[in-house]
Amino acid sequence: MSIGPPRIVFDKVSVRFDTPAGGQMHVVDDVSYHIHDREFVSVIGPSGCGKTTMMNIVAGFMQPTAGTVALDGQPISGPGPDRGVIFQEYGVFPWLSVRENIAFGLNLRANRTSPEEREEICQRYMRLMGLSDFADSWPRMLSGGMRQRLALARAYAVKPHFLLMDEPFGALDAQTRTAMQDLLLEVLAAEGKTVMLITHSVEEAVYLSNRIIVMTARPTRIREIIEVPFSYPRREGLHESKEFGELRAHVRGLVMQEYAQQAKQRQS
């Protein structure tokens, strides 16, 4: 994957939320970074630090309190089909069958496709996600992991250029998780996408990313940006290499420190 010019630019972004008690909570503190075209960036940091908040700004669901997030030079003002989002809580449509969920985006005016093409895309993703036997099931009949895969299929189906993924593999068992990671890398190699991935798994971040952004405890700042030197395509065997192990240990150390910091803040 060759990396292009900056596309998403965080410029001195801060976010504060009003608390029910009438005060304010400082969540994101003066964060600046770039995500380049066809780059895979992972964001990792303690739970509750503000990762989803940052992704919500890129998705267009909220504005920062201060600073800007720009896409191709324009401040982001709302959601759009160029930015596919895989939500932490899936958001699978309960009133549609598995097949209809995947087809939902393809039936919209923004990405209307012919019925044959639509059917082909649905079949393909149901097969890749292991959902073919459940094509006509309601989401309530699926397991948590299956719902998560359905959300992935629904987002991939409309081929957005950007993928904003909020712990997209969190509910999956280790085997399925590896399969989904490799599937994601295949999709990226074939379609050349730009990815912002939020994850709690250091292993996953190192395996998938060009760069890893480690965030501090709240109010979150950038702790360190780590370049991942491995070339694509990446293979399963990479996990066992010495370099991989060293990088993983480094990132894990940073994350652990931030968790310790968070625990200390809670006590005081």
């Binding site: 998705a59 669901f61 959601p79 939500f87 309960p94 919209l108 989401p139 629904r154 987002a155």
Partner: protein, 249 residues
């Protein structure tokens, strides 16, 4: 077989209890007609005025609920969806909802006279306020995530309304309809206090003035059963339309 027995059992128990009270002597037996007396009276009345009574009452309930729900659905939707509007309108709704329809009868007579319109207005009132509450409570609990997902897939406002909000609102509409029907049947007797000649409420009123207890029982049981049948019908409809739901509320 087992299911049929389980469904019948409470009804049989009710009948047994009824006979028990009649024969126990705890209450003057003249004040409690037996089930078979009531059944006999039912057959007699079916050859006489009862079919017309049932027809009139059902028609009034139908009309009242239809108009009530036709208004309750959009109003409930707006109140549920726009939290700010709701904050201001909510007390108003609760004010009117608390007024028992019977208390409004004198006013309704003044403004709408004593014929069909007046009765329909009372039923409309009752079903509107019952329906609107169910509707907006339901709508306000819809998770915003589905709208967000649809937006990120490229849906326009119109598409979000048709493909996300309507499907999510349908179950609440059906529940509102069921609740409104129940309330409307409960209000029926009150609405037919307004100089009705026909209708189950009128039948009960008349029988009351002549102390014909068996007829009163026939009227009450008819109301109960018709309401039950309508509810069953609606639930079947709901099962068909919202089979995606875990459980039909």
């Amino acid at each position: 077989m087992r299911r049929a027995a389980l469904i019948l059992a409470p009804w049989l128990a009710l009948l047994a209890g009824w006979y028990g009270i009649h024969y126990s002597g705890l209450i003057n037996p003249a004040l409690v007609p037996t089930p078979h007396e009531v059944a006999k009276r039912f057959v007699e009345l079916m050859r006489d005025r009862l079919p017309m009574d049932i027809l009139m009452s059902t028609r009034r309930v139908f009309l009242g609920v239809l108009c009530g729900i036709a208004l309750a659905v959009p109003v409930g939707f707006v109140l549920g969806w726009y939290k700010t509007i709701r904050t201001f309108i909510d007390p108003l709704i609760n004010f009117f909802r608390a007024l028992p329809p019977i208390a409004l009868i004198p006013l309704v007579i003044v403004y709408f006279g004593v014929d069909e319109l007046a009765k329909t207005v009372i039923l409309f009132y009752a079903s509107f306020f019952a329906g609107v509450i169910v509707m907006y409570e339901g709508i306000s609990q819809i998770s915003p995530i589905y709208v967000r997902v649809a937006r990120t897939l490229g849906a326009t406002d119109g598409e979000i309304f048709r493909k996300v909000i309507i499907p999510l609102a349908v179950p609440h509409m059906l529940t509102a309809l069921r609740v409104a029907l129940g309330v409307a049947w409960a209000t029926l007797v009150a609405s037919e206090l307004i100089a009705a000649q026909q209708g189950l409420g009128a039948l009960i009123q008349n029988a009351g003035s002549f102390f014909q207890l068996d007829i009163i029982y026939v009227g009450i049981i008819c109301i109960g059963f018709i309401a039950l049948l309508m509810d069953l019908g609606l639930r079947t409809l709901a099962r068909r339309f919202v089979s995606w739901q875990e459980r039909i509320a």
